[in-house]
């Protein structure tokens, strides 16, 4: 894997160097951020950031015309494996601290990870709320079809923590392998309720309804970001991280339901 990663990294470097469109002379941007920045930036980001980071990519490339941001989206744990096995990446944005900590322990981060967004849990029900769900207490009802993410998956562990805080022993009918699968079964009405992230409810576009979980029962998922130790493009990587943390970056994240850290 390491060898493959090195070959891939070399190939990417060569490609970046040989790209005539990426020369700084062509950059006409006047912002301070843009001065002399060029090349390809590989961002490994958690799948839940897909929509938000697509907008951030557009905004960042607009501000830095010489830079081409390439998003590598996936489950945080598989991204962690890729990075530790030596796949090239400049920036890692994880959906939880645990995976970032593993990457840091492996000596793969160049800068201290910083929390750039927070995601809260929300109860998701099908449009119209046919089960009449009002709160976490309803997850103990045997007459409802209840789904959670499986244990070991971040959304599953967070959901169980919230249910513990609420003192509810859930009557679970299915433990879905990821939040997307859970959301689909709620959207089509085969489940009466599940626990997902606020951002999932926001991006579902009305196919599911969200029911707030009170702060004292809720669990916050912190999203950390860091420049990686073997970043092919470290200067641009640091600028990108600063952009995500800036007011502009935070405003984009907020549109998709993320809370500021």
């Amino acid at each position: 894997m390491r060898v493959l990663g090195l070959i891939a990294a070399t190939a990417l470097l060569l490609a970046a160097c040989g790209d005539p469109g990426a020369t700084p002379a062509l950059s006409s941007s006047t912002t301070a951020l843009a001065s002399g920045l060029d090349g390809e930036l590989l961002v490994s980001a958690a799948a839940s950031l897909t929509d938000a980071f697509a907008d951030i990519e557009t905004a960042f490339e607009h501000a830095n015309p010489g830079v081409d941001v390439v998003l590598n989206l996936g489950g945080s744990s598989s991204l962690r494996e890729q990075i530790i096995e030596g796949a090239p990446a400049d920036v890692f944005a994880s959906a939880n601290m645990a995976n970032m900590d593993d990457v840091r322990t492996a000596g793969e981060v160049a800068t201290e990870p910083r929390v750039f967004a927070a995601n809260l849990l929300q109860i998701a029900v099908p449009a119209g709320n046919p089960g009449g769900v009002t709160g976490l207490e309803d997850f103990g009802r045997g007459d409802l079809l209840i789904g959670l993410c499986a244990e070991g998956v971040p959304c599953g562990d967070f959901a169980r923590e919230a249910l513990r805080k609420a003192g509810v022993d859930p009557a679970v009918d299915t433990n879905e392998p990821d939040v997307r699968a859970l959301l689909t079964k709620i959207e089509i009405g085969e489940l009466d309720a599940g626990i997902t992230y606020v951002t999932d409810v926001v991006t579902s576009g009305g196919a599911v309804e969200g029911i707030e979980i009170p702060a004292e029962q809720n669990v916050t998922a912190d999203y950390p970001i860091a420049v990686l130790a073997n970043a092919p493009n470290p200067v641009v990587a640091e600028t990108f991280v600063a952009f995500v943390l800036s007011a502009e970056g935070q405003a984009i994240l907020e549109q998709y339901g993320f809370a500021s850290p």
């Binding site: 079809l145 070991g152 085969e190």
Partner: protein, 270 residues
């Protein structure tokens, strides 16, 4: 590697070195991953991992659902194969295509299609639920349905091929000697296609035993109710790799034992 200039082999009988080399390469593709699996097995903890409720529940469910799927495939699949092989009707090619569709579709799509049709809000499942309260998704019956959907085509195409290729003069002879239709079917047709029938059943069982995508999509994943061995492995990979490896080993062992013993048996009868 060079062939010996002289030996027991005649020119026609000497195995071509290139063919053997390619065959070995092909074999390595199957063998190497399993050696990799053996290297990851936590041997000392294996008994504990395999007797955990997760593993035993999943094994029980996998055996029950794969055997049930094979039985249903036998009862419904043989008549279907016979229909496709023997009866001329308009749109037969289309029907055959539909029957074999689950072989080609990603199982997740199969599961989703089942959910849309037979779920609580489905076209068939909705009225069924309102009339009887019967709920197929998230139930063991749902697991059997999903695995049957994915696995039955193996039986249908195997038996259909045999029915079309068999020499029909034997059936004619039996009929001319006064045997009724059922007798011909029972005493002539079925015995003649028996080897293919057994092969089809083994393939169906094997496919059902390993089914993952349609099951998790249609029936969900709950220990003791819908979590079969493949689902248990998948979920355990996220949280508990030793359990995942132990259950994988169990699946490999059971599948290999069944396939080897039955292969010998049906190999002899062909």
């Amino acid at each position: 590697m060079r062939d010996r200039p002289a030996g027991r082999h005649t020119a026609a009988g000497r195995p071509p070195a290139l063919l053997i080399a390619l065959a070995c390469l092909g074999l390595a593709l199957f063998v190497v991953p399993f050696i990799g699996l053996l290297g990851r097995v936590p041997w000392s903890e294996l008994p504990g991992l395999l007797t955990s409720p997760t593993a035993t529940d999943a094994l029980r469910l996998s055996i029950v659902s794969s055997l049930a799927a094979t039985a249903i495939a036998l009862v419904l699949g043989v008549p279907l194969a016979w229909l496709l092989a023997r009866i001329e009707f308009p749109g037969r090619a289309l029907v055959r295509g539909i029957v074999t569709l689950p072989l080609v579709l990603p199982p997740v799509v199969g599961g989703a299609v089942l959910l849309f049709a037979l779920g609580r809000r489905g076209m068939v499942g909705g009225p069924l639920y309102r009339a009887t309260g019967l709920l197929l998704p998230f139930s063991t019956a749902g697991v059997v349905l999903a695995t049957t959907f994915v696995a039955m085509p193996f039986l249908v195409i195997t038996v259909e091929g045999a029915l079309r290729n068999m020499d029909r003069r034997y059936e004619g002879a039996a009929a001319s000697l006064g045997a009724g239709r059922w007798t011909v079917m029972r005493r002539v047709t079925l015995p003649m296609v028996a080897p293919s029938l057994v092969a089809g059943m083994v393939l169906t069982w094997a496919r059902a035993f390993g089914e993952f995508g349609a099951t998790i999509t249609f029936a969900g994943n709950l220990q003791g109710r819908t979590q079969t061995l493949p689902l248990a492995v998948y979920v355990a990979l996220e949280s508990d790799r030793d359990t995942a490896v132990a259950i994988s080993l169990l699946m490999v062992a059971v599948s290999l034992a069944v396939l080897v013993s039955l292969r010998d048996w049906w190999g002899r009868s062909t």
